[in-house]
């Protein structure tokens, strides 16, 4: 079964069962086999595994990249 997500905000994405990318409103449920973004809320085990797989990358990026509000910016 494909990873299934609910979008927490409006997102331009191509779900697996769509031919083209399009804009999806917040709350839309999509099947998506790519790398989930921060606005993807996992709904099944496959989706939770995909989110967990990129969690280390996200945490290291937060430590390295400057964020809005940082004193250095």
């Amino acid at each position: 079964m494909a990873a299934r997500y609910e979008l927490s905000e409006r997102t331009y994405i191509k779900p697996d069962d769509h031919l083209e990318a399009s804009l999806h409103e917040a709350g839309a449920v999509i099947d998506y086999s790519g790398v989930p973004g921060r606005n993807f809320v996992p709904l099944n085990d496959e989706a939770r595994a995909a989110v967990a797989a990129i969690a280390p990358l996200n945490s290291s990026a937060r430590n390295v990249l400057p964020r809005r509000g940082d004193p250095a910016l």
Partner: protein, 175 residues
């Protein structure tokens, strides 16, 4: 594109018959292929064999190349959606980000074809076309239109977009 020799015209100052380039359409029967031009000779042979029922051009938009197969051999009515496999750690295909090994169906021109490998025939045709004719040009729109691949003849799509900026002196000279 194919270049043919026209032996019915006077020879040029170099002692050779003038040549004619045919970007669209078929060579007339009086034209000749240049020496050692296997493609030109193939086009001439095909045109002479099927002169009464030729398609519009030797170029086939659905395969993205010159296609000289007998007219009774027809392709299926529709083409599959190209399916690619990501061969680098991570790659964007449109707005989506994928990781190595994932297989994705994608009907438009991929931005980074070197990061992908073909899974089906449609994808292989698209990657071959981009490798031969995609350098320095912006391939716009979906490659799959109405269920058929559409890879236009590069000789008919206009000047390629230069990857280099114009010389600053051009603007001065134009004044």
């Amino acid at each position: 594109m194919p270049v043919f020799v026209n032996p019915t015209l006077p020879k040029t100052v170099t002692g050779e018959f003038p040549t004619v380039t045919i970007d669209h359409g078929w060579p007339d029967a009086h034209l000749r292929a240049r020496p050692n031009d296997a493609l030109g000779q193939s086009i001439l042979d095909f045109a002479n064999a099927y002169r009464d029922r030729l398609p519009a051009s030797p170029w086939d938009d659905r395969t993205g190349k010159i296609r000289l197969v007998p007219l009774d051999v027809v392709r299926p009515a529709a083409d599959e959606v190209p399916i690619y496999r990501v061969k680098v750690p991570a790659a964007f295909l449109g707005p989506n980000l994928y990781t190595a090994g994932q297989e994705i169906s994608y009907p438009s021109w991929p931005d980074h074809p070197n990061q992908l490998e073909a899974v089906n025939e449609s994808a292989q045709l698209v990657l071959d076309y981009m490798g031969r004719h995609g350098a320095g040009v912006k391939l716009a729109g979906p490659v799959l239109r109405s269920g058929k691949l559409n890879m236009p003849n590069p000789a008919l799509r206009g000047s390629p977009v230069s990857p280099m900026p114009r010389w600053a002196g051009d603007a001065v000279a134009a004044r």
